[in-house]
């Protein structure tokens, strides 16, 4: 069973605020699901190469250049931002 501190730590790493009720509920749910994951311990995979890309594609290249969305594109991107100032996204103070 995950402790209350562990749940709070995971939530903090995930940047998710939790209510008291959720702390209890997720403590229970996550513990149960993590137990279920233990099934993989039955297998010895020490000699197995992990999957990188499932159909084995490698090194897809394209030119390293930006594309301009134009004024209309910029406008529609800025219009859906919660808060902007002088053409920039505005955020709350960091510290």
């Amino acid at each position: 069973m995950l402790t209350r501190e562990e749940i709070l730590n995971i939530a903090s790493l995930a940047r998710v605020g939790l209510s008291e009720k959720e702390i209890e509920k997720y403590g229970h749910d996550l513990s149960e699901i993590l137990d279920y994951f233990k099934k993989l311990d039955e297998l010895d995979v020490s000699d197995v190469e992990p999957i990188g890309h499932i159909t084995g594609m490698q090194n897809v290249f394209r030119a390293d250049k930006s594309e301009d969305f134009g004024d209309l594109g910029k406008k529609s991107i800025m219009e859906i931002a919660p808060e902007t100032k002088d053409g920039y996204f505005k955020v709350k103070s960091v510290l």
């Binding site: 749940i7 995971i10 939530a11 790493l13 995930a14 940047r15 998710v16 605020g17 939790l18 209510s19 959720e22 997720y26 749910d29 996550l30 149960e32 699901i33 993590l34 279920y36 994951f37 099934k39 993989l40 039955e42 297998l43 995979v45 197995v48 190469e49 992990p50 999957i51 890309h53 499932i54 159909t55 594609m57 897809v60 394209r62 969305f69 594109g73 529609s76 991107i77 219009e79 859906i80 931002a81 919660p82 808060e83 996204f89 955020v91 709350k92 103070s93 960091v94 510290l95």
Partner: protein, 473 residues
């Protein structure tokens, strides 16, 4: 169905505008009960239809999909249209661009009716985790349509769209298609560009069609597939017309039935499945029992990889650049915490937390890395199976559509709905669900789906096998 409508359009028996109106009428009449749509795009649809009708009037040739109305799952971006992924965190999000599949379909003149309901961020197997509404199974409205593409599938099953687009990360196209009695196709990983689809688990996600027939699914796949510079995982593949491969002849083909999938089958589904095997035999196919020995590890592997990728993909929903932002926060960290607390639904938060834990310092080797290794073993199971057989066949789901609320309290129970479908995503192979019969339950004939999985990039062979089954009565 697409071909018939196409004939009517080019013979001028109907106009695209008239056809589009018919579907909006059907939505008006039925969707209050079914709840398939979140947003209707009438203005866009009729503007598109007008162009098609003008083209036909000028005597120009039109594409098979041109002028025919379809629906889009609400996690696929349509320029200028609200796109929510059925989550409050994107409640006010208006997509500033078209997904690649939408761009291709617009170029072909396919008519967009609207955006459909789904499990929030495609996380769920019943569409019950939508932040907006329930979608009901058109076959029995006391039951769920399946999920996560429940709205897209219900729209097709209820006659509220000719066809639709869904996304499939662990069965989200095929499981609801099975529950509602229509065809659902998940292409090979990389066959279809995901640019503009709101990512859930990027090593598993694919966009695919939901349709009334296998031929319709093939026609749609031809239109949406292909390499795309905007999705680096999209595969180089020549422009195939998958519908041209539907010969209806599968004599001599070998269909493998994995014993791990069917040994626990019970009751009526088992009977329906066995009858379907007889039908395949009558078509000249050979049925062989095969083994996929690592099947029982697929679900834990899937839930480790998927939740890990979810925790990474959903980090971008932070209340800064678009979407919801929590009010009255003083510091940036508070903005993140509160926005995500009120914006994400219960299952979304559960999966983000699980994935964060699996990827956190000290646990990566035990969970993510180990799961990627077991995934290699699962792929190898398929490689070995495909040395002997052409297709792998099983029911799509171990049971028929369940009732609302039956599984919402127990996440593990809900996850088990995907038991037969997730291996195709883990192995990257194409898979299709198509109706193979029904089970009478409480006075309703609840549909049963059969699932064929094909070799990597052999959609044409797999589609032909499903088509042959569908055509033989």
């Amino acid at each position: 169905m697409i071909r018939e409508l196409h004939e009517k359009l080019i013979n001028r028996e109907i106009t695209s505008a008239h056809l589009t109106q018919q579907y909006f009428d059907a939505i008006e009449k039925k969707d209050g009960e079914i709840g398939a749509y979140l947003t209707l795009t009438k203005e866009l649809a009729f503007a598109q239809a007008k162009l098609v009708d003008e083209k036909i009037a000028r005597g120009e040739a039109i594409d098979l999909l041109e002028g025919i109305p379809f629906a889009v799952k609400d996690n696929i971006c349509v320029d200028g249209i609200r796109t929510t992924a059925a989550s409050k965190i994107l409640d006010n999000y208006v997509a500033p661009y078209d997904a690649t599949v939408i761009r291709k379909l617009k170029e072909k003149g396919a008519i967009i009716l609207g955006k459909t309901n789904m499990d929030q961020f495609a996380m769920g197997s019943s569409t019950e985790s939508s932040a907006y509404q329930k979608t009901k199974n058109p076959v029995d409205t006391e039951r769920v349509p399946g999920g996560s593409s429940g709205g897209s599938v219900a729209a097709v099953a209820a006659g509220e769209a000719v066809w639709s687009l869904g996304t499939d990360t662990g069965g989200s196209i095929r499981q609801p298609a099975a529950f509602c009695g229509v065809v659902g196709l998940k292409p090979t990983y990389g066959r279809v560009s995901r640019s503009g689809a709101i990512a859930m688990a990027s090593s598993l996600d694919q966009i695919g069609p939901i349709a009334n027939s296998v031929e319709d699914a093939a026609i749609i796949l031809s239109a949406i597939s292909g390499e795309d510079i905007l999705d680096a995982t999209s595969a180089q593949s020549s422009d195939k017309k998958f519908e041209d491969y539907l010969t209806g002849d599968i004599s001599g083909k070998v269909i493998g039935v994995p014993k791990e999938y069917v040994e626990s089958l019970e009751g009526e589904i088992k009977n329906v499945f066995e009858k379907s095997l007889e039908k395949f035999k009558a078509l000249g196919a050979k049925i062989e029992t095969i083994s996929l020995p690592h099947s029982s590890y697929a679900l834990p592997v899937y839930y480790i990889l998927m939740t890990s990728e979810v925790s990474s993909n959903l980090a971008k929903f932070d209340g800064i650049k678009y979407g919801l932002r929590a009010d009255d926060t003083k510091k940036l960290l508070e903005t993140y915490l509160d926005t995500r607390k009120i914006g994400f639904g219960e299952e979304v938060k559960r999966r983000i937390m699980l994935g964060t834990y699996a990827l956190s310092a000290g646990y990566y080797d035990a969970y993510y890395l180990k799961a990627q290794k077991v995934r290699a073993l699962i792929r190898k199971d398929f490689e070995q199976a495909f040395e002997k057989v052409d297709f792998v066949y099983s029911p799509t789901t171990p049971e028929v559509a369940f009732k609302f609320g039956e599984k919402t309290e127990d996440p593990l129970k809900m996850y088990l709905s995907d038991i037969y479908t997730i291996t195709a995503n883990l192995a990257g192979v194409p898979a299709i669900s198509f109706p193979i019969g029904s089970v009478d339950t409480e006075g309703k004939a609840l549909p049963v789906g059969g699932q064929l999985m094909g070799k990597w990039f052999d959609e044409e062979g797999m589609l032909n096998a499903a088509h042959s089954f569908e055509k033989a009565k």
